[in-house]
Assembly symmetry: D3
């Protein structure tokens, strides 16, 4: 039976307006030791991955985890559309950051992979807060190690495919992690589904390579033409081929920059929060999501916490969707 | 017959580009004395309510009235969709601020109630500029005193229901005014219609209480699913039960924060201005609106007057809708 | 045969991440001499028009050309929806700025007209980067001189009609250029199509004058009610009466200020980028566009390059559309 | 005997926290008619001059008067170093704006000159709030007309001499007003004293012309080397040659941009407020100042009202210094 | 013997770049329970007091404690001028926040007083992070209860005296705490020394009352004229009359707004950090400081963490000064 | 004889207000090919080094070179304190950027070293615009290769010593370049003079190592106590031991963050521009400076170009000082 008691002083620091007390994600309990994960037995654990040296354009995503914890506005925890108290359905904890080192990709990559593995290998769902998108390479690698090498799928929301061979010689660029995951075999190309691609990158040969791998992608233009309901229905269908669950990767730049200015490579013409939040809750409810990341939140370019709050709500909707999925399954089992 | 003459020097200060001259709302004449209301006989009077100490998260709405007067961009006064000169149809004046005192709710509450009553009791429609949403408590109380205790209805646009019993012990929080109004009998629960609710607050027991009062609410999810036209048609129908007219309360956070970052408790996934402005013009044309407030504009968190201009346009669309309603009624009477 | 060789040092300055090297529009080659236009034979040439003293409200558009070159994020050049490398289809160069003089309209007007004429008279498509909308007066005058006085049409995206006789006595205001063009005969009223008008300006008599000229306009309300596809189909039909091609004028304030805060006269209730970019690509593909301007980008009021990037993408989509049109025509000729 | 009664409603709008009520300069009474100046008999009258089309670099000073009235923080009115209630010693009113027209220098110049003349010709000290420095041309012209053509002096604080013949052909540039005043004979060169010049402009020939006119100037380097006390002592001595009083012109860019970022042509290496405020109070106490302007406050480039508040305090210190001068003179007369 | 061991996971979260890991003040250990204070036996404990409803002008200081923990840049811990590792000399912990309730002064006042008392009554030096200056009332009350009612002194850095009887009827305004402390007898007027007063508030009668209480104050003008070394020497002498130690209260608005824009009532003409930091280190070294507060940091008005970092360094210099004082005393004892 | 002719179109693009035309440093001619350096024979060449992946805290300095060219305000070129036209005395060109690759230190290091070497090896003085301070490692290495390995000195302005062995395992951190230069022998420790150190980093052992190398440093505290004139006199004396000239490295964080918020590791308590600009002009006039860098300008954290303009003026003052030095030497030779 899990040990989940907070000391009274700590409890009162967490049970208050979101701008005061201790800054943890959504004011959830803070665990720092792997052994505490064993004792507490959470369903979900937040892990920060404060790395941004792989950014091609505007850096700053290293401040993402800190900002989601310290500056996001937490209005409450009752999901009015689902009618559930989010954190009564699932036990969510904050497991701190993978400690990264500026300019040191190998050390940082390893720190991220290991911290995510600590979580995922225990059957706990990690929600990894980036950091730029390069962090998905170690993060999804860890999840593949835990759940089955080559056996998980990825649903990937992004303006960009992030499948380049390299950018300016950099194989760890935030424009390359999806290629690395396929190359290593951690994730098979045919288990990849991308949504929201738009703009002028990557070039044709990259799309060709993507096709050769069996990757599927749905551009923003397709979402625009067919509507997101139809597209997501397809994406869920395509993802169902992954036997060991889905890793959901949300690059906040899938939103239009008007809603999410705080990001490194903004691309006009993106989604609106009113749609994205519904998409996320739907996917997490309908699909067996085993890990999530939310990346590319760059607070120096944010205004009035627009981007931070959108990212924070992506996490809340994910948690709510997972909670509903478990309720649905319990109901179905009866 | 109303006396409505401005001295020539004052007239030229008001009849110019909106960034120069005297800063009144929409460059309308400034009246400061109740006796001037009697002489001038306006149809509508702007009243500022610069109070923000009831804010649970980001304060700053005390600067709302000043900013709407001084920093909103006034492009002109011809409503191109209705084909009317707004201020030729209706006489609108600026009646200054209810003088509030920092940290002193009772004194401020009273100042707001009395100043709104000065307007409403003369049959003039007040447009009250907040301030945080707590100001709706005294403002709507004044309108109920003037038009009929328990006999007006409220159509309330907001991301939040603002019906909590108390928040952190505060019964005058900006999360509680609607409860106070129902408790006092100023407005009956069955005369309340809310539109735009979303996110994670209030908790279930508050929704239960709302149901018990006969309140009606339309979540943002409902607006998303059914479209705003259908929802507003229902809302208007529901509001029609109020015998003595409608108080329209617009919390600017009903807009998505991407359009209205300058607010205290931003909730992603809201409306777009292209929709909200049409909704407001429709309601004010179709319903007997006797008072309006526009609240939760917090200029310190605004950028490039995004939120300020949206709030300003909510007022203009309201005035235009009211003007059209009167034209419609005159036409119908013929 | 065109001479289009860059020295190797220059080539490497242009072929890199968009924030480094030489700041030209979209990192295209820089030509400064008219003779270089003859040698290089580009299809399209960018011309800056850094003038903002005609702004009625928030100035700053003088910094528009510099900002589009220096601060827009250039992610790549492959148009994923069309499957083309934009700059392989068309040769685009940056022809620098028309040198303007602060407060000196006549000198600046003349500089803009002559620089645009240098481009247009060679059959090169100018893309003129404003500056406020007053620059369309000299710019379209130059295009009319080059392609046929009274024989080009204008498709004009804007929240405002910009057809005033004068504003505060100013006949060169950014609210008047379209009137000047019709008065001079450079463009006939019946060749004018406007899209996106909204708000409270201009007044009725201006709309009457517009009607008398045979101008056509589609308000934002019409776009809202009928959808942009139907409206643009009509606009294209209406524009087809212009025998010598279309001048496309894009006032960035046609976008909602939430997406484009960096502009001088923001009007809530505008378009979203996801729509505007599609509209632009459609028009440039379906219509014979011979010149383009993108105006009213005011960087001091922008945040995180939101407006700058939208304007930059308007240019990229225009270029892509023109490229596809040429492909379509070549294909049709076979 | 002056009529100085405010209606009670107006009085309460002005007697409150500076962010609420009516936005006048320092919450002083608002007069709009010349006849009211005669009745009220103020000592000092504020006049706004919202013009910025003469700016060579960053425009925005048109928003200066509005911002000083609406956004400056007014903490109180007791001058703790002088021990006086500022507005009990002197009667100060706000006389509104000279109505300017965008892009129309002649009309705006004339409006400024006439409104300042209305004040100065009555023996009231105008404090003119810019706008860019071009407004000093009409403003000081009006003062010279009122007090003696060629008989007033100017003490001019600025990073720039503003004595160019023309800039880019513009004779009304904000870099030229001092030349215009000398050329017209309104102010003689030998009655000009400049303080704070620094940086890289104007060029040598302009300094030569300045020397030929008998102008005196004290660079920031001289202030740095000799200290401001010695320099101001000299400046006061030099200014004493002006028989009919001094026009004090304060370009806020005399401050270092770190203290005053909201300005059009910032030049690093300027004064600190702790010094400038003392200099101003000293000059206004020791010299017969008959008019003042405070210019080049450009709110779009300001942050957290830094520049606005500095400009506002320049006005308060001027008023305090003038009040003390009158006390000193009364004391000396006894 | 104190128990001061951190679990290894927690240790690594705190021992890293200051933007990652757990957000505690200066990355010090986090204690939340009073019993932990007993076990850990720190020399100094940080306490947040996130209250800002007593602000007369720009609110936002409620975000002060969160921001100092989450957004201040921590470069290292070696004090190069003193040659000490700050946190090796003294044990400093973060004791979390006094949980405040929006709009509820009595509850918040009590929470602050009790949490500070938990610290001070154990002989631990509290460093209280505001919050607006109203928090000094409960905070210093707690210290007086712990160290001797009427027997501690206060050295108070501020642009404002904060000794009003009331402001707009509010006796708990941030302009009144020093009066409350004297009235209650917690601190005697003759034990009060203020430094940095400037501007236009409070009025004469308040200064008179201050004189009657035996308070001493040193205006910014005096600091300017005599230099801070002489003034602080006097202030230390004056403070020496307090038998039970000194409470040091630092209102960040004692700095010029150019260095500290993020504050509620900015007053131009203040100190520079290069001086203030030296003053603080001197006072804490030369005087028996038993408690400290740092107040009026309002992050919404801050830019690039200017104010936050200044406040953070005020704390570091205080800690360093206290450490040196203890070294000095140990040395003297030998 | 140098070939220094610009085509007329290019000349007019460069000879205009600094916000228009082509964005080169100070509107100087742009050379991109090494062969052009040979033909043009400039005295000084600007080189951009847009690298920031070595930043320990706030990245963004990659945008430094672009911003100094595109956004700095260029008021003119006449140095009023020296009475010279800066660019008539010396021929200065812009040699573009060393093309860096995100996340790829070795490639970027090499690109910087080679581009600086192209300049320095021709006897041209490079002014290198960072980028973070890591770029001084390759830049000064290139200069040492060109002028004498181990025979140049460095005068280094900074809040930080940047002499760490490594930071978080990173030997190329912006906190380590000075150590790398000494280790490699490029610069001897005894040829190093640092000015402006302050705060809490590096730790004691690093200072010990610095002492062992014979490095000299002058803390901000020393500057504060002794005044900058005395300290710089010493620094110049100490630097005179370097036989082959001085490399001047200016980390903009030597300024107080109030003047230079746009930087990565801000440390309160720094210099004012009024002092720094004088120091720089003095050193470049009195010492044989053979190369300069200006680093750590991070535009995302800048406001209203405060930091950008300070950095730009550091370059102008350097050029002016060098010009005067050459005049002095010519005069001495006569
Ligand atoms: Mn991505
Ligand atoms: Mn992306
Ligand atoms: Mn509300
Ligand atoms: Mn709300
Ligand atoms: Mn337009
Ligand atoms: Mn427009
Ligand atoms: Mn000037
Ligand atoms: Mn100036
Ligand atoms: Mn205070
Ligand atoms: Mn204060
Ligand atoms: Mn450095
Ligand atoms: Mn540094």
């Amino acid at each position: 039976m899990p040990k989940r008691e907070l000391k009274p002083g700590m409890a009162s620091q967490l049970d208050t307006a979101s701008y005061q007390g201790i800054a943890t994600f959504a004011q959830r309990p803070l665990l720092t030791e792997p052994s505490e994960l064993d004792e507490w037995e959470p369903d979900i654990a937040i892990v920060g991955a404060p790395w941004d040296d792989s950014t091609t354009n505007r850096p700053g995503a290293r401040f993402g985890p800190r900002s989601l914890r310290a500056a996001a506005y937490g209005p409450g925890t009752y999901h009015m559309d689902y009618g559930i108290e989010i954190f009564e359905e699932l036990e969510v904890v904050d497991f701190g950051d993978a400690i990264c080192s500026h300019g040191m990709w190998e050390a940082s990559r390893s720190a991220i992979e290991e911290r995510v593995y600590e979580v995922a290998s225990r059957g706990i769902i990690p929600i990894v807060i980036g950091g730029d998108h390069a962090i998905t390479w170690p993060s999804a690698t860890a999840v593949a190690r835990a759940h089955g090498w080559g056996e998980i799928g990825i649903i990937h929301f992004d303006a960009h495919a992030d499948t380049a061979l390299e950018i300016d010689g950099n194989y760890a660029s935030h424009g390359t992690p999806m290629r690395r995951l396929i190359e290593s075999g951690a994730v098979q190309g045919r288990h990849f589904v991308q949504v929201g691609l738009r703009g002028y990158w990557p070039p044709a040969e990259t799309f060709e390579w993507m096709g050769e791998q069996g990757m599927r992608w749905h551009t923003m233009n397709e979402v625009f033409e067919r509507g997101h309901h139809a597209v997501i229905t397809d994406a869920i269908e395509e993802a169902s081929a992954s036997p060991k669950g889905i890793y959901l990767s949300i690059d906040i730049d899938v939103l239009d920059p008007g809603f999410a200015p705080g990001t490194g490579t903004p691309e006009p013409g993106g989604m609106a929060p009113v749609d994205l939040l519904r998409i996320i809750r739907r996917i997490t409810r309908e699909v067996n999501v085993v890990a999530i990341d939310i990346v590319e939140v760059s607070p120096p370019f944010d205004w009035a916490e627009l981007t931070i709050n959108n990212a924070h709500r992506c996490a809340l909707e994910s948690i709510a969707g997972i909670a509903m999925r478990r309720k649905d399954l319990r109901f179905a089992q009866k």
